[in-house]
């Protein structure tokens, strides 16, 4: 055990804190999941990039600082503590990038990563389909080989694509072997959304923002270099990404410790309501955020030491998603009748309800924990 920061880590944190204090917009930006908000968030992303804070853990040639995971955690802590804007580039930098680093060719990495870091290419995720949500392996979008043109023709429909209406590229799975079923015969493709045959329709989330999109592909041609990680390898490659989506990179602890601190402020401002159970719920939410931070430090240590345990990312996802809902429910309780008014806490609550659903529903996660961690016999997937 050693919970002290090295002088280097400390310096890194100080630098980040200083820059954020200078640069974080005084007034919060409108939601990045609306068209005008998205544009403003892009300006912010480019400011981050120019100061090399956009992708701190990436190698310098791609716009990063080669930061260690500890430095990354420190940056994230400072980022959320400073109340900095949401990362509208997260599907690219947190979900696709790890997969590119693991499975991409040098050419793909050199071509795609710098533009992603600079928020020039904006990536959305094409996993779910109308008939394939929790049951991802049921997807039916297909890729047909076009030998003559030296590439593939993609046809099908993707849905629940976050910010799909505002992005420039999509990564997703397509069935490249028509004979295949379930996990076999899938290929991971990288698709520009301005290609012929692509139609994108945005639609609104629970909070009313146009945060989702349906992406229709009708005989869309992509060249061979749009394949990531080998034809028919799609499932293996995708699991790496969903692994990171379900793991810690998407949900850094700073997010919850910062939210818990805001909850404490709210509680201090509403002492008249702090009777009965509310007092305990506020404290418990703060404790749970701290517990999440500690679990994550342990998980990062294990990952770094190559001693990561099976199912750790499922335990992680179950905890943060339930914590996020409880934390916001508690805040709304503190707001009393004002809870129904549109505001950061009510929006945060609606957003939190997606946590137990997306990135592998919590029902699926509990099944994974039960069977892969506890070793129980295989049952329903629900």
């Amino acid at each position: 055990m050693d919970l002290k920061e090295t002088p280097a880590e400390r310096a890194f944190r100080e630098e980040a804190r200083g820059w954020l204090a200078e640069n974080v917009p005084r007034d919060p930006l409108p939601s990045g999941d609306t068209r005008e908000g998205f544009t403003l968030h892009l300006e912010w992303e480019r400011r981050l990039y120019d100061a090399r804070w956009a992708v701190v853990s990436w190698p310098e040639p791609y716009g990063g600082r080669g930061a260690s995971v500890w430095e990354w955690l420190a940056f994230e802590e400072e980022y959320y503590r400073a109340g900095a804007p949401q990362r509208v580039t997260q599907n690219g930098i947190f979900l696709l990038a790890p997969t590119l680093f693991a499975f991409g060719t040098q050419e793909q990495q050199d071509r795609l990563l710098p533009r992603m870091a600079a928020a020039e290419d904006l990536w959305c995720q094409g996993w779910s389909e109308p008939g394939a949500g929790s049951d991802l392996a049921a997807l039916t979008s297909r890729a047909e080989r076009d030998e003559r043109a030296g590439g593939w023709r993609l046809t099908g429909q993707k849905t629940w694509t976050t910010r799909g209406a505002f992005c420039t590229h999509l990564f997703g799975l397509f069935r490249s072997d028509p004979e295949s079923v379930r996990h076999r015969g899938l290929t991971y493709f990288l698709v520009p959304l301005d290609a012929d045959g692509v139609t994108v329709r945005g639609f609104a989330r629970l909070d009313g923002d146009e945060g989702f999109a349906e992406v229709y592909l009708d005989d869309v041609f992509v060249p061979d270099d749009a394949v990531l990680g080998g034809v028919g390898e799609g499932w293996k490659v995708a699991m790496a990404t969903t692994g990171s989506e379900r793991g810690l990179t998407l949900r850094s602890p700073g997010r919850y410790t910062a939210a818990a601190d805001r909850l404490l402020e709210l509680a201090r401002a509403h002492t008249e309501r702090m009777t009965g159970e509310l007092r305990d719920r506020v404290v418990q939410a703060w404790m749970d955020a701290e517990a999440y931070r500690l679990f994550t430090l342990q998980q990062v240590t294990n990952t770094a030491a190559g001693t990561a345990r099976t199912g750790e990312s499922s335990l992680n996802k179950l905890f943060w998603s339930e914590l996020d809902v409880r934390l916001h429910e508690t805040a709304l309780e503190l707001l009393g009748p004002d809870a129904e008014l549109d505001g950061p806490w009510s929006r945060g609550f609606l957003f939190s309800l997606a946590g137990p659903i997306y990135a592998g529903t919590n029902e699926v996660q509990r099944g994974i924990v039960a069977e892969r961690v506890l070793g129980l016999p295989r049952g329903g997937r629900g």
């Binding site: 609104a204 309780e333 129904e340």
Partner: protein
């Protein structure tokens, strides 16, 4: 001893259910959201006026139906099932009987042409489209005409709540404190009944969805992980509804413990509705997370009403004082 609705009440409830099945589709609930067509909402209210809902608690001598609180909660549960937009509990259960008793019932209330919102703090639910405001506090009541009110719209999570900050002082209404207390009890109790109806609607929608949605080759509704939380949600709703009936009967019998029974009803109904909303959204998966699908119309109303007229924890705190200190 007979703990059930009378045949007459059941008949009235059935009639209202049939009426609302046609007159209050989700599109009408959406019409109450900002930018929606208020005409659709107004004609729904007219239909409810013709049915007699705003008149249910008004004495026949004042042109009302002269029915009681038990019938009223049965009707408001149906209204909740349909998610009727606008200040229906406030108009039918709170304002109409109070104003009639004071001989101050405005024209148009009984036929559904006038929607009366209730102001208990600066922010008033339904204010954007209300035609009048009943200003209630422990000391008394005032009636503020829309024309004399200064209303600033406020965005609400449930657009149909169309709230506003209301400024202006209405004309005094001649009622005694006991009538005001009764009106406040009716607001809480009517809202509890509405919440029970909303909960049943959310469960019904969810059951239909999980029966048809298949994953891993079977309907998701066959998974225990979906079935058991829905069963627990139903338990909460089924145990809230007798408490609502009991409180209504206490109002009728003017029992000394009425306040306690109303608090019990609102607490159980609020907790059951919040749990049901959460469970139904989860059971829908991503489908529960879009506003194109109708579930959110009912879930957001449930959240708003659970916190209105006293939240569960506020009522528990009141009851705690009664049970733990008074005695």
């Amino acid at each position: 001893m007979h703990f059930a609705l009378s045949g007459a009440a059941l008949e009235l409830r059935g009639g209202l259910r049939d009426l609302l099945a046609g007159a209050c589709p989700p599109s009408t609930v959406r019409a109450a959201w900002p930018g929606g067509d208020d005409g659709a909402v107004q004609s729904l209210w007219r239909a409810l006026g013709d049915f007699g809902l705003p008149a249910v608690l008004v004495p026949e001598t004042d042109g009302g139906l002269g029915l009681d609180d038990v019938v009223t909660v049965a009707a408001l549960e149906e209204a909740g099932r349909a998610g009727v937009p606008g200040p229906l509990v406030e108009t039918s259960a709170v304002a109409a009987p109070l104003l009639a008793a004071a001989g101050a019932l405005p024209k148009g209330v009984l036929d559904g042409a006038v929607r009366i919102a209730v102001q208990r703090r600066e922010v008033v639910p339904y204010a954007q489209r209300a035609d009048a405001f009943l200003q209630l506090d422990e000391s008394g009541a005032r009636l503020l005409a829309r024309a004399d009110a200064d209303v600033t719209a406020v965005d609400t999570v449930d657009g149909a709540r169309a709230a506003g900050r209301v400024a202006g002082v209405g004309a005094p209404v001649d009622v005694d404190p006991s009538q005001v207390r009764k009106a406040i009890h009716r607001g809480a109790l009517g809202t509890a009944a509405f919440l029970v109806g909303l909960s049943h609607r959310m469960l019904a929608m969810t059951v239909e969805y999980v029966k048809s949605r298949t994953q891993f080759g079977v309907p998701v509704g066959s998974f225990q992980a979906v079935q058991h939380p829905l069963a627990d949600a139903l338990v909460g709703v089924e145990f809230a509804s007798p408490a609502v009936l009991r409180a209504a009967q206490s109002m009728v019998d003017d029992e000394p413990d009425t306040a306690l029974h109303v608090a019990l009803a609102k607490t159980l109904a609020s907790d059951a509705a919040e749990r049901t909303a959460r469970t139904c959204i989860q059971a829908h998966g991503a489908m529960g997370y879009t506003v194109e699908y109708d579930l959110h119309l009912f879930a957001k109303r449930a959240w708003a009403l659970a916190a209105d007229w006293g939240s569960a924890s506020e009522h528990r705190a009141d009851v705690a004082r009664t049970l733990l200190e008074a005695r």
